[in-house]
């Protein structure tokens, strides 16, 4: 169902919105366009069948216990197509989700967590300020996974990055080279990647990033990061004879 006329939306009836209206400065059309993009995702029909408002998802949700956050509200806003509230959630709520999919026990067969994945993806694709904020400090992880093919590496275990994990982190980081050599599996002697990834494999990964529009998404949220990743990718691909 696609609605051009906003007059019938739940949120537009005075007093009917579930929350005080935020982001009033953002034109309704922009919010609607984002919502239409969410609905156009091939997964959307599998993730939302309506909502009983039973709250089972909230009872199962870890993030609901520690944040002002509710998967039920996400499902309801989507089921009612409350464009204003959805925009607000896209900015203020979705990054609280733990993506554990405990809410998949929904008796209506919804996946509020899956809806959130799509909402986040659309937020990133359009570079919403809140997604840029949510990803601050996370850029090095994106860089690592996209350029090396493994997400966390042994050399990330630095005491200043994980002070709350106790003194063992320093011990690991001090002994890293030696302890990695003391691992029997041959692929695990690395320190800057989780395991040894072959060059051919890495090239293929770069081609996947290139042929999907992932790089455009990165550019929307972090231009500097985009440039660094692109440099690494292009150099490797060109050396291997690919014209990008």
């Amino acid at each position: 169902m696609s609605r051009a006329a906003p007059a019938t939306t739940f949120a537009q009836r005075p007093g009917a919105t579930l929350a005080p209206r935020a982001y009033e400065d953002v034109p309704y059309e922009e919010k609607l366009a984002l919502w239409e993009e969410v609905k156009a995702d091939p997964r959307f029909p599998d993730y939302l069948y309506g909502c009983y408002e039973c709250g089972i998802c909230v009872a199962a949700c870890p993030s609901a216990r520690f944040y002002d956050f509710s998967p039920r509200k996400i499902a309801q806003a989507a089921a009612r197509e409350d464009v204003e509230l959805i925009f607000e959630q896209m900015n203020d709520d979705v990054w609280n989700c733990s993506q554990c999919f405990s809410c998949d026990r929904c008796p209506r067969q919804n996946s509020p967590g899956g809806l959130i994945t799509i909402l986040r993806e659309v937020a990133v694709r359009h570079g919403l300020a809140s997604s840029q904020e949510a990803l601050e400090g996370y850029g090095r992880v994106v860089y690592k996974i996209m350029t090396t093919g493994t997400q966390v590496s042994p050399d990330m275990l630095q005491p200043d990055a994980f002070p709350d994990w106790g003194p063992d982190v320093k011990e690991v980081s001090d002994q890293l080279d030696l302890w990695r050599r003391a691992l029997p599996p041959e692929t695990l002697h690395t320190t800057s990647t989780g395991w040894e990834v072959s060059e051919k494999t890495l090239l293929e990964l770069y081609l996947i990033w290139h042929y999907s529009d992932v790089m455009d998404m990165i550019e929307e949220v972090d231009e500097g990061l985009h440039m660094i990743i692109l440099d690494v990718m292009e150099e490797t691909l060109e050396e291997a004879g690919y014209e990008i």
Binding site: T117, I145, S212
Partner: protein, 396 residues
């Protein structure tokens, strides 16, 4: 004390399921139809395999050997005794396997943390790895619970959405690779479950005094639920049997606690950039509840993020006088210790944080002597007498 569901009562009336009444269609049938239409290659589970029951009563084939080990970033990077124990078990039971370099991460940890990817890219990464396995003739077995859960999502998207399938096929053809899907998506803990009796036959350490709490991994049994293993003889068929089945086979006690179904608090982005949440959740909803209700010697789980979150989160809360202090390890490390594995050379417990030494003592392991042995290995490595510790060194 919170009242907990009495697990004993679940066992008295096992829950029997009829696969003909399953609420979902069997995706493997759709896969075979696509194969018949020439759209996709389905890589068959090699023989010999073990047949297990899944949530809706269907049968799943778990390959024993000829496995292509799809490793996990977090395991290999931060808890390498986890991956090492999986390989060690496979070797000890005499099964053939590959530990490929032609493998990338599933990239799903990043996707669930940052959403900086999309359906086509995620499908491309998954299908590239599956094609790489297919080229070797070995069958993928997946170490990470999140990779396993995410690949099941990718399978849904590729099977049910022709447009997604076309996009991914197009990317694969540019890489010169066919579109291949394994007949079953198999998690390593399902292999451990399938061989648990063999593991028990090789058991050399007595675990009858050990009390364990199980933390089942969300992405194993909540995300696309129908592939997870259930067994009427374990929890009366009402909870996933994976992990608990192994502990029981090794003669240890599985102790119940009321937040069994809660996640660990990993949160994907939270564990990296918002750890106050992960720490609070792991402490207050998991470890403290386990301690209060079951006082276990160990927490056994079967996923990367769960081991990391539950283990590492126990340091800081000590400053607040919280009731923490239970060691955490994977089912593979637990099984390896039962079979006599070295706690440092194989299980690499020095990478873990929460004190595991009292547990080793209860298992009859002289951890001080074991550490001295391992330190000798480290000296040989330092002196460049050996370049790496090898499987021969470990087994010698």
């Amino acid at each position: 004390m919170t009242s907990i569901i009495p697990v004993e009562s679940l066992k008295t009336k096992p829950f029997r399921v009829d696969p003909s009444e399953a609420p979902t269609a069997d995706i493997r049938e759709a896969l075979f139809e696509l194969e018949e239409a020439g759209e996709i290659i389905v890589q068959r589970v090699p023989e010999p395999y073990v047949e297990v029951m899944t949530k809706y009563g269907r049968t799943k084939k778990i390959p024993l050997g000829q496995t292509w080990h799809h490793k996990s970033c977090g395991q290999c990077g931060h808890i390498p005794g986890y991956s090492t124990a999986i390989f060690w078990l496979t070797r000890k039971l005499g099964y053939d396997y590959l530990d490929p370099k032609d493998q990338t991460s599933c990239t799903a940890w990043n996707y669930y943390a940052s959403a900086t990817s999309n359906v086509a890219a995620q499908g491309g990464v998954a299908m590239r790895n599956f094609a790489a396995a297919y080229e070797t003739g070995y069958f993928p077995i997946i170490h990470c619970g999140t990779s396993y859960g995410h690949y099941k999502e990718v399978r849904q998207e590729i099977v049910h959405h022709g447009d997604v399938r076309e996009k991914v096929r197009d990317i694969m053809s540019k890489l010169g690779k066919p579109l291949v899907m394994p007949e079953e998506i198999v998690h390593y803990s399902e292999w451990v479950h399938a061989v648990r009796d063999q593991i028990a036959q090789h058991q050399v350490r007595d675990f009858s005094d050990i009390v364990a709490c199980v933390h089942p991994a969300c992405h194993y049994y909540k995300l696309i639920q129908e592939d997870a293993i259930y067994d009427p003889d374990i929890y009366g068929g009402q909870r996933t049997a994976t992990v608990s089945g192994l502990i029981l086979a090794l003669g240890a006690e599985v102790a119940d606690y009321s937040t069994f179904f809660d996640c660990c608090g990993f949160g994907f982005r939270h564990i990296l950039v918002s750890r106050d949440f992960s720490r609070s959740f792991a402490t207050m909803r998991k470890i403290e509840v386990m301690k209060e209700e079951a006082n276990p010697d160990v927490v056994i789980t079967h996923d990367t993020g769960c081991v990391t979150t539950l283990d590492k989160s126990q340091f800081a809360p000590q400053a607040h006088g919280r009731n923490v202090g239970v060691p955490v390890m994977s089912d593979a490390q637990f099984a390896a210790l039962a079979m006599g594995a070295h706690p440092y050379r194989v299980c690499q417990l020095h990478w873990h944080s929460t004190d595991y030494r009292p547990l080793l003592e209860k298992m009859g392991i002289d951890w001080e002597a074991a550490w001295i042995e391992f330190e000798k290995d480290l000296k040989r490595l330092e002196a460049n007498e050996i370049e790496y510790l090898t499987w021969e060194d470990v087994d010698g």
